[in-house]
Symmetry: C2
DNA sequence: ACCTGAACACCGTTCAAGT
DNA sequence: ACCTGAACACCGTTCAAGT
């Protein structure tokens, strides 16, 4: 008799993310997730292939938080909004976020974010052939900063200082993008 | 009767690093390290406080691999050598390297590397008050790229492509540094 | 279809004991 | 001082069973 499921994958992932945020990746055990859902650990295996799959799911969940910026913004503001989203997500989920840097970005949500950056770079005038390269460098710089900050590598610095750092990082990347755009124009 | 120790901390860390390199962080168990040293798991606890301390030790070990570049080089070559060292270390130790981004860089070896960057930035003419800021941004960009590459985020790209990416990243950072230096000069 | 319960192999770590 | 051996609480995961 097919009864309604008490848990589903997205509820499972939401609770798992909450545990990781509150108590770290080590505390994120199958038993802890199950307890929070009022269910036996084994019940999770119907919705998730195992712990590794659960972690993949969390990375995926983070990716959905990087809401693409509203269309119609100038490219530099567009990238600024996206970068701020990413940084905010890192601060909210310091345990899970570092995993993002460690797995291939081939899922639909990863592509969506990447495509938003592509669009901004094209609008900035970066030659088509250079767009993927520029996206990789810009993204790794932003992710590297976000991971460093969230994981506490800069813990002796004030919030004000880190905000300033981030602004300057974005200015550096914007200049880089403009320089790339210039190579595409005549002269 | 004090007999010579069969193992010491540095031999322990060296074997642990080898396991992580060959089989990943998950395979790096106390039992695996002990077996490799021909000893009981419990013997490790005389040289290491536990698994967390072991991981800290591995990060420390990686830091010692970033040999500071020979003195007397022009600043841009100096930074280039250092960046290449860091990238090479990341490729050798893809499992352990990401941990570097996640802990505060407060150890002597971390300082040594940072001081080498400071020296190069001063030589480049970056105003004293801006040196730490510029170091943070340059380092996170390089580390972000190294982690991404080593952990396979760019796995569909060729070695040639990644070498080109890295060159362009360094050029971008060099331009950033020169721009910072210019703000210190008159005009 | 969805969840439970018992069981297994393994994990990090403690403690007391050996030499 | 250095290592061993037995023991503990916990971990992810399997399998077969319930409804």
């Amino acid at each position: 008799m097919a009864r309604p499921a008490r848990i589903d994958r997205s509820r499972l992932l939401a609770e798992a993310l909450a545990i990781a945020d509150e108590r770290g990746l080590e505390a994120l055990t199958m038993a802890a997730v199950a307890e929070r859902l009022g269910v036996t650990p084994m019940a999770l295996y119907r919705h998730v292939a195992g712990r590794a799959d659960l972690l993949d799911g969390l990375v995926e969940l983070l990716l959905t938080e990087f809401a693409p910026p509203p269309a119609g913004l100038p490219w530099s503001e567009c990238l600024g909004v996206l970068a701020a989203n990413i940084r905010a997500s890192a601060r909210r989920h310091p345990s899970v976020f570092p995993l993002l840097l460690q797995r291939p970005a081939t899922t639909p949500d990863a592509r969506r974010t990447r495509d938003a950056v592509y669009a901004a770079l094209r609008e900035a005038g970066v030659p088509e052939g250079r767009v993927p390269l520029v996206e990789r460098l810009v993204s790794t710089a932003v992710l590297g900063f976000a991971v460093s900050e969230a994981a506490g590598r800069f813990r002796e610095h004030s919030r004000r200082q880190l905000d300033a750092d981030f602004d300057i990082l974005q200015a550096m990347l914007a200049r880089f993008i403009r320089a790339e755009a210039a190579t595409g124009s005549p002269g």
